[in-house]
Structure formats: structure tokens, C-alpha cells
């Protein structure tokens, strides 16, 4: 009753009543399989799926929370699907399964690569409305992207870095003294991350800040922690670290001993992404300046925009910008009160 095979395999029965019986059985089996694998029993509702880059990255939890609230308000069947760790193959497979199930829409966070463009275009051709959040694939036929202005985020972070250096009386204009910098990013090809890096580099272009290394953590939290610890152990004299995203901020300070030592010895770290654990690290002096994304708005507004597009044909602008949040020494206590810890103790 629940499988797709029984119909065709029993279709060669000769007797009429057997054929009829099988047709009925096949019909019911097909129906079961259809519902089970494509739409839920509550099929009157619109089904929109979010596909974050991974489930393990808590930065998406705000979007998860607020999209669920919005879905209840709008009467939408919301799906939140992703591989636990980022894996482009698995993510594409999930998107493929959504196409197969003919959901009404999907909002995805992807890399800006041709294979993502192809799967997005295929979904669009299948009549599924596709939008992107956080990371964009502008070369695809997606309807819109909702996220921060990544260039602005990179720029603000760089400006924040300069402020911190000022506060620490570190001369970033002295041509005889280079400030050696490491950049940790997710993966190359993620357009949002590239924009942040470019903005950072543009902003510090006239300073003595030089980029020593760019380290890719493959969007993997654990790997990011490991790479960070190894890097600062091998390069204790590095002056500045720019975290393009908040991957290694999900662990307590005790899990980052080398990084902590490096920070205590005068290292300056700035980064993008604000969440509870990152703020705790900032509070403990490991990070000096953070720029956050408004993931909650990405979740709720992204969902409502796509809903309006599907249901009412309201065409949104191609880019919907969500605001930036800044965490510095002045507002850190307030932000620590606002943001909830994501980990269950």
C-alpha cells in the first residue's frame, strides 16, 4: 500500500476481476505513495521549504524560529531541511527531493556555483518558486534574495577593526610596521562571503594591514575550531584575524586555548555573525568586534515574501536587505541579555 512497485508488477494479470482489483489496488497504492512522497495530508496548505546550508550552524536558528512563527500565522506547511554538516552534494539532493515532491516554494542558502544555478533553474522550470536567503546565487533564475548587504557587513567589520586598533593604540598607518592578518572563510564560491572579504580588503587598503593567509573551513564548525587552533599555534605572531562568518564561535572559550592565549597576548579578532556564544567569547575578550546579521528577518520576511509571490503574485524586489547589528564594548551587555543561548545545557 505504501510502495510504488505493486501496480506495474501486477498489471499483467489476465482475469478481469483480478485486473480490476489490481487497478483499485494500484490506484490506492499510487495514491498512498503520492501523498507520502509529495505532499502531506494537509495538502490544501502551501508548502514552503527552507534549505539552510547546514543544520549544525546555529546562525540559522533565528531564521528557523521566526520562519516557524510566520508559517503558523500564514497557514503554511513549513519544512526546514538540510544536511547536518554542509555538503553541497547532499544539499542538492535535498533540493532535488523537494522538486520531486513538487513543493510550492523553497528558500535556500547556497553557493554561487553553476551546479546550484542548474538545480534552482530546474526547480523554477518545475513551477516551484525559489528564493535565496543569506548566501545568494545571482546567476540563477531565483526570484529574490533576502539577506544582509554583505559588502556593507565587510566594510562595517573593517571599520570596527580600525576602531579597535585605535583603542589599542596600534598604528595601522605606519608603513614600517605591517599588521599581518589571517582571514577565515567558509568555502570559496559563496558569494556573500566573497563580498564581505572584498569590502574588508577595500576598507583596509590604505593601511599597513596585509593579508597573510585565507583559511577555508568548508562551512564546518568543528573544522573551523580545529583550523583556528592549529593556525594560531603555528602563527602566534599573527596580528589580526577576520572571521568572515561565526563558525568557530559556537564553542566555549575553554575549547579554544591557543586562540585564547593569542587574544590575551594582544591579538585582535573581529568577525561577522552575532549569536549568544559569540557574544560570550567577546565578553571574555577573545573577540573584539562583531557585526551581526538579522537572520530572524531573513526567516520571517523571506517566508512571507515568497508566500505573497506564490499566492498573490506579488513580485518582490530582487534583493531584500536586512539590517546589520553591531556588537562592541558599549552594547555587549545589552546584547547578551537579548540573545538566547542555543545549546541545551
Amino acid at each position: 500500500m505504501f510502495n510504488l512497485y505493486s501496480c506495474k508488477n501486477n498489471a499483467n494479470k489476465i482475469l478481469l476481476f483480478v485486473v480490476l482489483f489490481m487497478i483499485i489496488m494500484c490506484f490506492s497504492a499510487d495514491a498512498g505513495a503520492e501523498i507520502s512522497s509529495k505532499k502531506t495530508a494537509d495538502s490544501d496548505k502551501m508548502t514552503i521549504a527552507f534549505v539552510p546550508r547546514s543544520l549544525e550552524n546555529p546562525i540559522f536558528l533565528d531564521a528557523f524560529e521566526h520562519s516557524q512563527k510566520k508559517a503558523v500565522d500564514l497557514g503554511i506547511n513549513l519544512e526546514w531541511l538540510g544536511s547536518f554538516s554542509f555538503d553541497s552534494e547532499k544539499q542538492i539532493k535535498i533540493i532535488d527531493s523537494l522538486i520531486e515532491r513538487k513543493v510550492d516554494g523553497m528558500i535556500i542558502s547556497v553557493n554561487d556555483t553553476p551546479k546550484y544555478d542548474r538545480i534552482i533553474n530546474r526547480a523554477m522550470e518545475a513551477g516551484i518558486a525559489v528564493a535565496t536567503f543569506d548566501a545568494d546565487a545571482p546567476n540563477s533564475n531565483r526570484i529574490f534574495n533576502i539577506g544582509i548587504d554583505n559588502y556593507e557587513a565587510g566594510k562595517v567589520t573593517a571599520e570596527g577593526l580600525l576602531k579597535v586598533l585605535d583603542q589599542k593604540n596600534i598604528d595601522y598607518n605606519d608603513p614600517d610596521q605591517e599588521l599581518r592578518t589571517m582571514i577565515m572563510t567558509g568555502v570559496k564560491g559563496a558569494l556573500n562571503l566573497e563580498k564581505r572579504i572584498n569590502a574588508f580588503l577595500d576598507t583596509v587598503a590604505d593601511t599597513n594591514i596585509v593579508i597573510e593567509d585565507i583559511v577555508e573551513n568548508q562551512d564546518n564548525v568543528n573544522l573551523s575550531v580545529e583550523l583556528l587552533e592549529q593556525y594560531v599555534q603555528k602563527n602566534p605572531d599573527i596580528d589580526i584575524i577576520f572571521f568572515v562568518g561565526g563558525w568557530p564561535f559556537y564553542v566555549p572559550a575553554e575549547a579554544l586555548p591557543n586562540f585564547r592565549n593569542w587574544a590575551q597576548n594582544g591579538g585582535v579578532a573581529v568577525g561577522i555573525d552575532i549569536f549568544y556564544d559569540a557574544l560570550v567569547l567577546q565578553d571574555r575578550g577573545l573577540i573584539h568586534y562583531l557585526v551581526g546579521q538579522d537572520m530572524a528577518t531573513m526567516g520571517s520576511k523571506g517566508l512571507s515574501t515568497l508566500y505573497n509571490y506564490i499566492k498573490y503574485g506579488v513580485k518582490p524586489p530582487e534583493y531584500i536587505k536586512t539590517g546589520l547589528e553591531i556588537s562592541n564594548q558599549e552594547n555587549l551587555d545589552r546584547l547578551l541579555r537579548i540573545h538566547q543561548p542555543w545549546r541545551v545545557k
Binding site: 501486477n10 498512498g32 507520502s36 546555529p58 528557523f64
Partner: protein, 583 residues
């Protein structure tokens, strides 16, 4: 039909010794080989079948064990007691408290993904609410709970549920195992389920049983859960018959050995389908070996048979040919003998026989020649000049006395005497004529000697008159009686010639009442007649010896003469002719 077979048999000359030998050798040689081949084939095939059955049974039992271990491990995970995080997530989700539930959702994603990492083959682990909301290792989504529940069937414990294979939300072919979870803090129960990749079942059944052989798994209704041909999955198995009893089944014209076992943990049958062809492929080697050996032995037997039959039949054929030539009076034939076997012995006997025949024939010729010589001598003895002259003088005297009647009788008697003596050259004469011949002789001698003696001829058995005997047997004996018995005596002589038959012998007894013969002489004569005494004077006892030798030559050693005499009283010569020895 019979004629047809006969024709073929004749066509291949089945009657010949050579063909019979070939057929006999073939039967004797082939029967044991075929019997041995048949028996060994059966024994070996039984052993292989047993081995395959045992192996298949061992395999399905092992698969059952592996499958049950795997499912039990999954069940153990699904059989959760109270789980704080799950309970909190359920409670908060039911309350739509997304702000607080998200950290539990994250925890569950993390836990479920860890479970997936620890148990290869698990495609997804999920908690499903009664309204179809689901949280799994892939995130959160909704399913059709009614359809899902409908697809579940319980195992024997009625606590664990299974589905048929299906394609899940993520386009993966899976079987779902599920159990109910009853959270303490919420009224509503949920289903905890695990999607098992069908490839796990493929791995569990990945035993090499042969190229065509395979394993499959079916549920209690015979619906196929796993089959190497994926299109078969979900079908009702043809071989389901209130279970899957072990037996031989036919599929697409090929035979398979079906072996199965039932897993009480899953409620599934694990079935092995061992291709009989592949099982028997090993047997084919033995079959081919037997066939090749049979052919080789057959060829060897044929060659051996040809050799043996040739070595046997060739001398026999040669013997046959020479015998045929010998039967056509070519007694110069002789077999060249090589070897010392029975055929060689037969050839030697043949040669010996031919030599013996030649010898006998030469002896026969010699005897015949001797017989002729004796006859001629006997005839010569008959035509003694003084007998003829005296008789002719006697006839002349009668004619001068004008006693023409008696002269005529004498001439007539003399003529008959000589005519009967010659008998147209015949060797054998009727006794009747021999008696006539003696009568003529006696008539002539009686006339010559003035009727000094009488004679009596007494033939007791008239039938012997028509029997043949050698000619000139009686006359020489009668002549001896006249000249050596009667004429020297001074009394009226009497000669009795008696003919009789006793058993198969014809006897003539010639008795005279003359002077007789001295006993020593009688003994000497009899010894000479018996061949016990040789004499140098060939003229001595010529008449007796001549008759005696001729009889012995013609009738064998039992025939011949015997002389008995009483001096001055009588002499009796007995002629015995043993007809059984006649030529």
C-alpha cells in the same frame, strides 16, 4: 521391424565371430563403466546437493542472524525510555513555542545524525507527531500520518512496526522500522522511526552463491521486501505458499533450490535461490569426465577388441579356408603356426589331422595296391598251367571218346570257373556266385580225380547268398582240402562247405575228412595267420595266407582264417567275415 533389425544385423555381419566378439567386449567393457559412472554421478550429485542445501541454509541463517542483530540494534535505539530533550521538544512544539523548542530541535538533529553516523545503513531517524509533523536528522517537515500508519504492520511482539520498501521523502529506497514513544509530559504519543537503506539488505544478502543464484527477503504475506531485481520489490512472490518451504522451484525455465528461514524479530522470510544449473555445473564436470572416460575406454575397447578379434578370428578364418581346401581334396594345406595359444593348438591339431589323413590315404593306397596284388596272386594261383592242361587233356579225352555231353559239361564248367574267377574285374562278388565258382571247381576236380571224394555245400542262412564277399575266398581253401587232405588219404573223401551267419559275422567252414594236419603244424599255421609268426618262404601256405590277408585288409583284424585239425581224421578251416569291419 524384426526384419529391419535382422537386415541391419546382416548388413554389419553380426553373425561373424569378429562382430560377436566386438559386441561382447563392448558390453563387458562398457557396462561396468556406465554403471560405475551412473552410481558415482548419483552419489556425487547427492553430496553436492546436500552441500548446497547446507550452505544455503547456513547462509540464510547467517543472514537472519545479521538482519536480526541489525534490526535489534535499531529497535534498541527506538525503544527509548523517557528522553528529556525529546520530551521538551514535544511539549514545546505542541505549544508552538518555537523560541524555546529550537535548541531542542538542534539537539535532536545532532543526536539523530550521530545515530546515523554510528549505524551505517540508517538513512533517517525521525519523530513523527500525530498530526504528521516530523523532526528528523534532515530537519523538520510534515508527512501524511494516516498513510504512514496504514503502511505499518506489526511484528510478533506487536510493539515494533515495519513498512514495505518505499521511496522516502529524500528519494531514498528504504524500509521503515517504527515504535511508539509515550512522553511523560505530554498526552500525545509520537512515533520514533528509522529508515533503513535497502542497500543494507543488499549488503546482508551479499553472499556469493553463484552468478544466477540470489537471496531475497519477503514479509509474512510473501510480499518481497528485498530482491536483487529492484522491480520485483513489493510484488507478491510466486513461491509464497503459506511460507516458503524448502523445495526445488522453476523460474524462467531454470531450476532453483529454494531455502528459507523465518525471522521472528522482523517477521520476514530470508530466502536463498540457488541456481540448480550452477549447482549442477560442478556435476557437469563429473558428467563430462565420465563421458570422456567412457569414450576413451570405448575407443580402447574397440581397438583392443579389433586386435583380439583379429588375433582370434584371423587364424580361424585361415583354418576355415584351409579346411575348405582340404575338403576339396587339397591335402597339401598346412597352417603356419605362431604362438602357443588355443588357436595355435587348433592349428597344430589341424596340421596333425591333415598329416594323418595323408598317411591314412597313403596307407589305403598301399593296402589297395597290396590287395590287388593278393588278388592277382590269387588269380595267378587259379590259372595254374597243369590245372588247365590236365582239364583240357581231360576234355580232349572225352571228345576222343565221343563223350560229348560230359565234354560239354566240362567246358561249360571250366568256362564258368574262369568267368567267375575274373568276375569282370570286380573285387567283390555275391556269395551265391562264390558258391557257384566252388561248385564249378569241385565239378572239374571231381571229374579229374575220378570222383574220389564227395562234397556237400550247406548254406544255413539263405539270406547270406546275396551278401558280397571278396572273390576267390572259398576256392583256395577247397583246393587245399582236396590236395592236402583228401588226395593223400586212402579213403573216400568228403568235403563239407558250410555257410552260416552269427551276429554280424558270416562264417564259412570247409571241412574235409582227409589226412589232417599235425597239431604243431596247425599251431604254426594259425600263428602265421594271426601275424604272430613271420615266414620267409612266400610260397608256404600261400592259399591260406592270401585269403587271410585279403579278409583282414578288407574287414579288419577280427576277420580271417582259423585252422583246426585232427590228424588222420579231419581238418576244418573257418573263414570269419566280420561285416562290421567291411570297407
Amino acid at each position: 521391424m524384426f526384419n529391419f533389425i535382422k537386415k541391419i544385423a546382416n548388413g554389419i555381419e553380426i553373425h561373424t565371430l569378429r562382430t560377436k566378439l566386438i559386441i561382447s567386449f563392448l558390453i563387458i567393457g562398457l557396462l561396468p563403466i556406465l554403471l560405475f559412472g551412473f552410481l558415482s554421478f548419483n552419489v556425487y550429485s547427492g553430496a553436492i546437493n546436500d552441500r548446497i542445501n547446507n550452505y544455503s541454509q547456513e547462509m540464510v541463517n547467517r543472514m537472519k542472524r545479521d538482519l536480526e542483530d541489525y534490526i535489534t540494534e535499531v529497535e534498541r535505539f527506538l525503544s527509548k525510555e523517557q528522553d528529556f530533550y525529546i520530551n521538551q521538544f514535544i511539549k514545546l512544539t505542541q505549544a508552538n513555542d518555537f523560541r524555546n523548542s529550537r535548541k531542542y530541535a538542534f539537539r535532536i538533529w545532532e543526536d539523530f545524525n550521530n545515530v546515523k553516523q554510528l549505524r551505517p545503513g540508517l538513512k533517517d531517524v525521525a519523530i513523527t507527531f500525530q498530526d504528521g509533523r516530523r523532526i528528523s536528522s534532515y530537519g523538520t517537515y510534515n508527512i501524511d500520518i494516516d498513510n504512514f500508519k496504514e503502511s505499518l504492520y506489526a511484528d510478533e511482539s506487536d510493539e515494533t512496526f515495519f513498512t514495505q520498501p518505499y521511496i522516502n521523502y529524500f528519494q531514498e529506497e528504504v524500509v521503515t522500522v517504527a515504535r511508539y514513544y509515550y512522553p511523560e509530559i505530554a498526552e500525545e504519543n509520537v512515533l520514533i522511526s528509522a529508515d533503513i537503506d535497502l542497500d543494507v539488505l543488499a549488503d546482508l544478502t551479499d553472499f556469493n552463491l553463484g552468478e544466477k543464484s540470489y537471496f531475497l527477503i519477503a514479509d509474512q504475506n510473501g510480499d518481497i521486501i528485498y530482491h536483487p531485481e529492484k522491480s520485483k520489490i513489493g510484488e507478491r512472490s510466486f513461491y509464497y505458499s503459506d511460507g516458503f518451504p524448502d523445495r526445488k522451484v522453476s523460474l524462467k525455465g531454470e531450476q532453483y533450490l529454494l531455502t528459507s528461514t523465518y525471522s521472528e524479530v522482523t517477521g520476514w522470510y530470508i530466502i536463498s535461490m540457488a541456481s540448480a544449473d550452477e549447482v549442477e555445473a560442478e556435476l557437469n564436470y563429473i558428467t563430462n569426465l565420465t563421458i570422456y572416460m567412457t569414450i576413451i575406454v570405448l575407443i580402447l575397447i574397440i581397438l583392443l577388441t579389433l586386435y583380439l578379434s583379429s588375433s582370434l578370428s584371423k587364424p580361424i578364418q585361415k583354418l576355415q579356408e584351409l579346411t575348405h581346401r582340404a575338403s576339396e581334396n587339397d591335402l597339401s594345406v598346412k597352417i603356419e603356426i605362431s604362438g602357443d595359444d588355443e588357436i595355435a593348438e587348433l592349428g597344430q591339431s589341424f596340421n596333425k589331422m591333415i598329416r594323418r589323413i595323408n598317411k591314412l590315404m597313403e596307407q589305403n593306397v598301399r593296402e589297395q595296391k597290396f590287395l590287388r596284388q593278393l588278388e592277382m596272386e590269387s588269380l595267378d594261383n587259379q590259372i595254374k598251367p597243369h590245372f588247365i592242361y590236365n582239364t583240357l587233356d581231360l576234355i580232349i579225352g572225352l571228345l576222343e571218346n565221343k563223350d560229348f555231353d560230359r565234354a560239354t559239361h566240362m567246358v561249360e564248367a571250366l568256362g564258368k570257373f574262369f568267368r567267375l574267377s575274373l568276375s569282370h574285374g570286380k573285387e567283390m562278388v555275391l556269395i551265391r556266385n562264390e558258391i557257384k565258382h566252388v561248385k564249378n571247381y569241385l565239378f572239374i576236380q571231381q571229374f579229374r580225380h575220378g570222383e574220389e571224394y564227395e562234397y556237400i555245400i550247406d548254406i544255413e542262412d539263405p539270406e547270406i547268398m546275396d551278401k558280397h564277399i571278396p572273390k576267390l575266398i572259398l576256392q583256395p581253401i577247397v583246393e587245399n582240402s582236396i590236395y592236402h587232405g583228401l588226395l593223400p588219404a586212402d579213403k573216400k573223401g568228403l568235403i563239407i562247405i558250410k555257410g552260416l551267419r552269427k551276429n554280424k559275422n558270416i562264417y564259412f567252414k570247409i571241412v574235409d575228412n582227409g589226412v589232417g594236419i599235425a597239431p604243431e603244424k596247425v599251431e604254426e599255421i594259425n600263428k602265421i595267420l594271426k601275424g604272430e609268426l613271420k615266414i620267409d618262404d612266400q610260397q608256404k601256405y600261400f592259399g591260406l595266407r592270401n585269403v587271410n590277408q585279403r579278409l583282414k585288409l578288407m574287414y579288419g583284424g577280427n576277420s580271417g582264417l582259423k585252422v583246426e585239425s585232427v590228424e588222420n581224421e579231419k581238418t576244418m578251416v573257418t573263414i570269419r567275415i566280420d561285416q562290421r569291419g567291411g570297407k
